[in-house]
């Protein structure tokens, strides 16, 4: 692994141990299921066995008669006592409550919640609840769901279409008319998700004396406390979310609004601490778990020399029976809709459609990875059509490094990049000529082997510009994040962050940045998570944003501390600040090193000696910094152009796959990824997330699917059928780093939280298709399972 160390940094970019690892390796993390509140009660959920049905009666008496059972909550009571949860788009009739009321809309939907002294007792009681259903018509196929006459998931909404708009950016029809070639293709991204090993959990306790709901939860959700308070009809300051809970993985999915409203309601109603720790089955069938499920229809217009002129994308996304933020996952890709390519004009038609399946939630990349898969499939199709080398075609169309900032047709300006260099590094890391030789040797020996290439963007610095774009009633234009820094009387530094973490190493991030700016050893800096009542604004670690946003906020706060120290020193040394220099916490007069005030002296003045403080400076040493997303703040134009995210990381994947010609089993033989996320603050963390993202991508490409039977039952609701790749499916992975700093960020960093996942599925799909090409077979649907691959091979061999 080549690390190009960024220049001029003391701690940033260096190999350093993380702050979090020691507690995790010794089993001393503190996850929500580890929190034991005195007298805590446990929830189990009764869920719908039908894809669609009317609930005719619910009888709870037998359940309530069991000893140890505290309560059974059903939809009628909960719906009366709470506000509905609304989708992220303007569809006020598509309402959702944590429990179904009157009708169920997917198999696995929560119908009743049992509260008991133990989880096992709650499950015993759940079995005793009798529910009469009258099955109704349902729709599972999103293409049928958009047709008139389809059964309606939400009849009050009048249609299954939750959102649909055709954006046209630039002279699409003219470009198509002028192009020498056109082609169309359809690809399908299967319903999968990031599926953390920790399920979702929440514990809540109501304090009637303080009128305060305390919440501990396994969350990664923007504006979570506000949404809970609103739904529970409480003022915002009556909900206190404890962000110091370690989250056992999320990668987007740990949203937990419905869980928290349910448990918060029960805790308040019963006056007892209550918790719901989903079991794996609850998690898979009815938790916030399923990801995008998309059919893409692409058309590309291009010339014989490989120049791609224009692009049309229709994306039909099956969001399931309800929608939180999921329709917006069609919105984020607007900000990178042409990928890394110079494409002059684009038509984009996102369609968000409801079916009788588990609701979709946010998944790593927020819709970008499926879009990247579709785009890259299109590029490969052009290469095949022209008989042109896939790499050369990409290189020809790449935005060149001298073209940045580069404005794409949909209104977003890319910050920086060197796509040619990163692809070259990936090819070198994979030893591409050797890879080609290995593939060709395998083919000669009668085996099936293929090479996959993908070159994809990772928009980062998560803004929520897709909210006003997809919902004109929503004028959110800031997605700030914050940091508070405190230097105590002993001189120790504490950084306060304002959200929970789910493995991204934020404590290490903040400590590294504070150490860098203040020139103090990060190992001596403590980082804590505020609770929501003493937190500064945060929009949670989504959208590959924390290195940029939390890193930027921490740097901003540290700079304020540094400025205060300089001001104190200037006052006491009777110099102008410009005459001073700061070094490792001490301030000296330039050229006169004996005129120095040390860290301890400066801190003591700030904390004890008001008489030595410069006029106008607050005593004590603390500073907060709230940072707006760079380039953010704008509303979309009438034709839907918007600056989406500020920074654009880039990754190029090169993979060699072998397919058993008889069984159809794929095996990844070699994997390399070139990656540029600007300045890496913690290389080990960036690499770790990238490796993990690639593994997620391997899962999405080859193994993982939430599969439904024809009668709407989720067939892969356990880990026996939802197949997460193990260390035996994920090969050794190589990353080649490249650094193109972002001009928009404090240190030149970009985001990397979605790295790997955004390009791996595209590359693996490309490799599988390259391997199948000699047979004349191809697959345009993920996941590409052995069964799928074999079926395609059979069809091709039979001459179809």
């Amino acid at each position: 692994m080549s690390i190009a160390p960024p220049q001029g940094f003391r701690y940033i970019g260096k190999k350093r141990r993380t702050k979090e690892d020691p507690r995790f390796v010794t089993g001393r993390g503190r996850y929500v299921a580890d929190i034991a509140l005195p007298g805590m009660k446990h929830v189990a959920l009764v869920t719908s066995p039908h894809a669609a049905a009317r609930i005719k009666a619910i009888r709870t008496d037998k359940a309530l008669a069991l000893s140890g059972v505290q309560y059974v909550l059903t939809g009628a009571e909960l719906c009366a006592g709470t506000e509905a949860l609304l989708p992220g788009v303007d569809a006020p009739k598509v309402t959702r409550y944590p429990l179904a009321h009157g009708v169920v809309r997917y198999a696995g939907e929560w119908v009743a919640a049992v509260v008991a002294d133990t989880r096992a007792l709650a499950e015993d009681a759940a079995e005793k609840i009798e529910i009469d259903y009258e099955a109704t018509e349902y729709v599972l196929d999103p293409e049928k769901a958009v047709e008139p006459g389809s059964p309606l998931v939400h009849p009050a909404h009048g249609s299954n279409v939750l959102y649909r708009r055709k954006f046209v950016w630039g002279p699409v029809e003219e470009d198509f008319a002028r192009a020498e070639h056109k082609l169309g293709l359809r690809v399908r991204w299967g319903r999968s998700a990031t599926v953390p090993i920790e399920t979702f959990g929440i514990a809540a306790q109501w304090d009637p004396g303080q009128q305060l709901l305390d919440v501990w939860a396994s969350i990664q959700m923007p504006k979570y406390p506000d949404q809970i308070a609103r739904a529970l009809r409480l003022p915002g300051n009556a909900v206190r979310v404890h962000f110091d809970v370690d989250v056992g993985g999320s990668y987007g999915v740990k949203r937990g609004i419905k869980h928290t409203v349910l448990v918060g309601y029960l805790a308040k109603k019963l006056g007892m601490p209550v918790r719901l720790i989903e079991d794996r089955l609850e998690n898979m069938r009815g938790g916030d778990m399923h990801g995008p499920d998309r059919i893409f229809d692409l058309q590309l217009a291009f010339d014989s020399d490989g120049t791609i002129r224009s692009l049309k994308i229709r994306a039909l996304d099956d969001v399931g029976a309800y929608a939180g933020r999921s329709p917006l996952q069609l919105g984020k890709p607007v900000g990178a809709i042409v990928g890394p390519y110079q494409i002059h004009s684009v038509e984009y038609e996102p369609i968000s459609v409801m079916t009788n399946k588990t609701a979709q939630e946010a998944v790593r990349g927020f819709g970008q990875s499926p879009t990247n898969y579709a785009l890259e499939s299109g590029i490969d199709a052009v290469a095949r059509h022209l008989g042109m080398d896939r790499i050369a075609l990409r290189q020809k169309n790449f935005i060149r490094k001298d073209q940045f900032p580069y404005l794409i047709p949909s209104g977003t300006s890319y910050d920086s990049g060197d796509y040619h260099a990163v692809l070259d590094k990936a090819l070198a890391a994979a030893d591409y000529p050797a890879l080609v030789a290995a593939r060709d040797a395998a083919r000669k020996a009668g085996r099936l082997a293929g090479i996959g290439i993908s070159s994809c963007l990772e928009p980062s610095g998560g803004n929520s510009s897709f909210e006003p774009l997809f919902n004109p009633k929503n004028e959110t234009t800031t997605w700030m994040d914050s940091c508070l820094v405190r230097v105590d009387l002993s001189g120790a530094i504490t950084g306060v962050m304002n959200t929970s973490s789910s493995g991204q190493g934020h404590e290490t991030l903040v400590a590294t940045v504070l150490g860098e700016v203040l020139e103090r050893d990060p190992d001596t800096i403590r980082v804590v998570h505020a609770d929501s009542l003493n937190a500064l604004p945060s929009n949670s670690p989504v959208g590959s944003r924390m290195a940029i946003m939390l890193g930027g906020a921490a740097a901003g706060a540290a700079r304020k501390i540094k400025a205060a120290l300089l001001a104190i020193a200037a006052h006491n040394l009777r110099k102008d600040v410009a005459e001073l220099e700061y070094h490792e916490g001490s301030v000296s007069v330039k050229g006169e090193p004996r005129q120095t005030l040390g860290w301890a002296q400066l801190v003591e003045i700030a904390h004890r000696k008001f008489h030595q403080m410069p006029p106008g400076l607050e005593p004590g040493l603390q500073a907060k910094f709230v940072w707006e997303v760079p380039t953010g703040g704008g509303l979309p134009t009438a034709d839907g152009r918007i600056q989406m995210y500020p920074c654009f990381s880039f990754e190029a994947h090169v993979v060699l796959v072998e397919i058993d010609p008889e069984t159809g089993q794929p095996k990844l033989a070699r994997y390399a990824c070139g990656h540029d996320c600007g300045v890496m603050i913690s290389p080990d963390i960036v690499h770790g997330m990238t490796f993990g993202g690639i593994a997620h991508g391997i899962g999405a490409a080859l193994y993982e699917k939430f599969a439904y039977s024809d009668n709407g039952q989720l067939e892969s609701q356990s880990f026996m059928d939802y197949l997460i790749p193990s260390a035996l499916e994920v090969p050794a992975l190589t990353i080649a780093d490249h650094c193109t700093p972002s001009p928009h960020t404090t240190f030149g960093q970009k985001g990397s939280g979605e790295a790997g996942y955004l390009g791996a599925p595209a590359a693996i799909a490309c490799a599988i298709n390259d391997a199948l090409a000699p047979l004349g077979a191809s697959i345009a649907e993920l996941p590409m399972t052995p069964l799928q691959i074999w079926t395609r091979m059979q069809l091709a061999r039979a001459g179809n």
Binding site: R17, T18, E20, D21, P22, R23, F24, V25, T26, G27, R28, G29, R30, Y31, A33, D34, A36, L66, S67, G68, A120, D124, A125, T194, V195, P196, I197, E198, T199, D246, V247, G248, G249, Y251, D279, R280, S502, G503, Q504, G505, I685, H687, G688, M689, F691, G692, G693, I694, A695, H696, S718, F719, M720, I724, S726, A727, L728, V730, A732, L733
Partner: protein, 164 residues
Amino acid sequence: MSDDRVYPVSIEVNGTLREAQVPARLTLVDFLRDTLRLTGTHAGCEHGICGACSVLLDGEPVRSCIMYAVQADGRKVTTIEGLAQPDGRPGALQDAFCEAHATQCGYCTPGMVIAAHALLETNPAPAEQEIREAIGGNLCRCTGYQQIVDAIKLAAGKNTGNAA
């Protein structure tokens, strides 16, 4: 049906004899976590696939979610907490996990460390494929396994006096 008879169990956990009265249906993972409050062992799937709940039973790695506490009566269990140094700081293998940054969210980590520990006890210098087989029953969603494999190689190198 909710009439849970209890049974006495006596299990040596991390070197200390622990006695309790438990319902037969209490799994070993729930016993460790809820009865003994040893929360380092994690429940991931509760049906024996993900490996997050791995512990050592008489020195051998097993899945504590598909074993009842009553079945462990009279036996020795070592959990992730038992692999740390007496003062709670990371033991040698745990330290290698820190050095290689083999953890992100930390949820699968205790099971991974247990699986790796068991491997190195019987095979101090494993090949990469042997490492992957030893952790093949432990799912991780964060790391892509790369830095975990690196950590185990690092620990093995220290075991055998060879640099990894």
